[in-house]
């Protein structure tokens, strides 16, 4: 199976922002993030991943995994080799995720799993290049990453990394948005919102009265976050080639009650709605403010800077977990019909079942 390497990066600060205070958003404990990685290690080992690259942090996640590996040492088997990507300054910013993912790509990772919210997935996607990613939810707003059991995600990531499940049909390319202010550009996986706020501040967006424009790569009716505004009015699926944009105004005749953040269902006034075609450049017509990407204020702009937003078809390659495990079932990768100790006599030629 060659170098079946998986990279895992976990954001120690995901699920810690002001939305705990203003919208009663959930808290995702550090210990659970570490436990999710340990459960993934078990899954990786089961399907033949032999090496895992783990990003390091000062938030206690990699330290907890390190301690667990130490306790496991000498007991034999169970987990693949884990290499900690240390030796590089830890800034406790998003740059740590970027640096770790780039090192994983350089080291030959075939899949990158990220644990975080939409913001973490966005940063991971920007650094992963053509390496498939699997985003697991441990953040605040979780539209892009899935809320999924880590063991199952680990099996899917491992089956793709080892090549046991071919990528066709199970690894698909997502759309993305690109917001640009002069020579500053930020990607977004779900939505770009224009706010009249002047400062980045705590980053989160929770006051719809400040929003003037919204651009969505996809807008699902059951989403949480800003894309839910258009998810109720003009849904666009992830697999559809186009996106959707709208003007927002408090006094607009059309109002939608939207779950714009966990714990916050707010009325939003929506004006003109139009589709977004890949490549077409959409101007931002608010004179000054902040552009939020995937729900977090990121790019400030001043009069005369004229920001733009465009939909791109070349977003990150993403692993479809249900599709991978369905393929695994079709191929009989996790099953056999022989007795224990007798190998894979009754299974398919490709089965990963190992003698116990």
């Amino acid at each position: 199976m060659g170098d079946a390497i998986v990279g895992v990066v976990a954001n120690p600060l995901s699920g810690r922002d002001i939305r705990r205070l203003v919208t009663q958003a959930s808290v995702f404990p550090t210990a659970e993030k570490a436990n999710m990685i340990l459960r993934m290690l078990t899954a990786f080992e089961a399907v033949g991943v032999h090496r895992v690259l783990l990003g390091t942090d000062l938030g206690g996640i990699s330290a907890a995994v390190f301690r667990a590996l130490g306790r496991r040492r000498g007991q034999g088997g169970g987990w693949p080799e884990v290499d900690f990507l240390d030796g590089q300054p830890i800034r406790q910013t998003a740059q740590d995720t970027t640096d770790a993912v780039r090192r994983m790509v350089t080291a030959g990772a075939r899949v990158i799993v990220c644990l975080g919210g939409d913001g973490t997935a966005r940063v991971t996607a920007a650094a992963a290049g053509d390496v498939p990613m699997l985003a697991l939810s441990t953040g605040t707003n979780n539209t892009f990453p899935a809320v999924r059991e880590a063991t199952i995600a680990g099996l899917a990531a491992g089956l793709v990394a080892t090549g046991a499940v071919p990528p066709d049909g199970v690894v698909t390319r997502a759309k993305m948005l690109e917001a640009r202010v002069g020579d500053r550009a930020e990607p977004a996986l779900i939505d770009v919102a224009v706010s009249t706020e002047r400062h980045v501040g705590t980053r989160a967006v929770w006051d719809p009265a400040t929003l003037t424009q919204l651009f969505c790569a996809f807008a699902e009716p059951d989403a949480v976050g800003l894309s839910s505004i258009l998810g109720q009015l003009s849904p666009v699926a992830r697999h559809e080639p186009h996106g959707v944009t709208a003007r927002l105004a408090v006094g607009a005749a059309r109002q939608v009650l939207a779950p714009i953040a966990p714990g916050l269902v707010a009325p939003v006034g929506v004006g003109e709605i139009e589709p977004m075609r890949p490549g077409r450049v959409h101007p931002v017509d608010t004179p000054a403010g902040v552009i939020a990407v995937d729900g977090e204020r990121e790019l400030t702009f001043e009069p005369g800077e004229q920001p733009t937003v465009r939909l791109r078809a070349d977003g990150p390659w993403c692993i479809d977990v249900p599709a991978v495990l369905a393929a695994s079932a079709r191929l009989g990768l996790l099953s056999h019909t022989g007795r224990r100790g007798q190998g894979n006599q009754g299974g398919t030629q490709r089965s990963l079942w190992r003698n116990l």
């Binding site: 002001i18 404990p29 400030t300």
Partner: protein
């Protein structure tokens, strides 16, 4: 529908005030750093330089109804809550004109008329105090909010944890501000704080906990505004964790062999005053001339404070038995 926090843009006056406060703290601390090296200041001093956005971002949301409790690193909190800078400097010099008549020194500056309950030499000493003032405000219906600033070391003290429990049980208008500058004296918080993010502990007490970029005035102000609104509205306590770096050692004279490079990085890349100035210039909310005028004004104020402190008399022998007991 869920509670939302009404937000208005900061006015020009509020921005000028915030910069003036942060600059005053910085200049105060830089000057104490220099003066302490001459041997003219008795006792210990623990400097707040680098952490200004926390004190000012929080206290700029408070008013005369509100009280704060501080730490051994308390100069910034005192200034941000409105304590007279000249009296503070005199107190640090041990002069009769000081905030506490020269008997307390750096670690005991207090001014109840400003709602400043005191700097505190006891690590974790402030949180229990604000439970008392918050309970008083609640029972009297003043609308007052109480804030305890404490460090990452104090976050491990029983007093702090008991106070958070009590504040939650009594649903007090209290805000716990953990100023995580990375080290409890010389011990790294990444080693000594088991939950790693101090804010995570809030969940155990049934209150919200938020991690805030402590170098960013706008982030601190926004988070504190929401916490104050929650407290005033009867929503109960909140834990805010500021993450940043102190620019000087634990105390003046600390050789700081336990860290390298982070202060230089913070001063160059993260400094709250530089970031604030760059932002307001870029948005056009304040001009460089506005900021220069404040710098000059603050510089003169600190010069005057030091000159007056040096010229002031120490407490007299007859003062030994005054201010020992307080009648309530």
């Amino acid at each position: 529908m869920t509670d939302t926090v009404e937000r208005e843009a900061l006015s020009r006056e509020q921005l000028l005030s915030a910069y003036r406060m942060m600059r005053a703290i910085r200049e105060f601390e830089e000057r104490v750093h220099a003066e302490f090296a001459t041997g003219g200041i008795p006792g210990f001093v623990h400097l707040y330089a680098g952490e200004e956005a926390s004190a000012v971002g929080v206290c700029s949301n408070l008013d005369g109804r509100d009280t704060i409790a501080s730490t051994h690193r308390g100069h910034g909190h005192c200034i941000a809550k409105g304590v007279n800078v000249g009296e503070m400097m005199a107190e640090i010099y041990g002069r009769r004109t000081g905030s506490c008549h020269g008997k307390g020194g750096s670690m005991h500056i207090a001014d109840l008329s400003k709602g400043m309950l005191g700097a505190n030499g006891i690590v974790g000493g402030g949180p229990p105090l604000i439970c008392g003032t918050a309970l008083a405000a609640k029972l009297k219906g003043t609308g007052g909010v109480s804030v305890a600033f404490f460090g990452d070391g104090a976050s491990n003290q029983g007093t702090t944890l008991e106070s958070m429990n009590l504040a939650s049980v009594w649903n007090l208008p209290a805000i716990f501000v953990a100023e995580n500058n990375g080290y409890a004296e010389t011990t790294s918080s990444t080693w000594s704080v088991a939950s790693d993010n101090i804010a995570d502990r809030a969940a155990g007490f049934g209150m919200p906990g938020v991690v805030v970029d402590g170098f960013d005035f706008f982030a601190v102000h926004e988070a504190a505004r929401a916490a104050v609104a929650r407290a005033r509205g009867g929503g109960g306590p909140t834990l805010l964790e500021m993450k940043f770096t102190r620019y000087y050692g634990h105390f003046e004279g600390d050789q700081q062999t336990y860290r390298a490079g982070e202060v230089e990085h913070a001063r160059a890349e993260l400094d709250c005053l530089k970031r604030f100035a760059a932002r307001v210039r870029r948005t056009g909310e304040l001009s460089q001339a506005d900021l220069d005028a404040i710098d000059a004004e603050v510089g003169a104020m600190i010069d005057e404070a030091v000159d007056e402190a040096k010229a002031a008399p120490p407490p007299a022998e007859a003062d030994l038995l005054t201010d020992v007991y307080v009648r309530y």
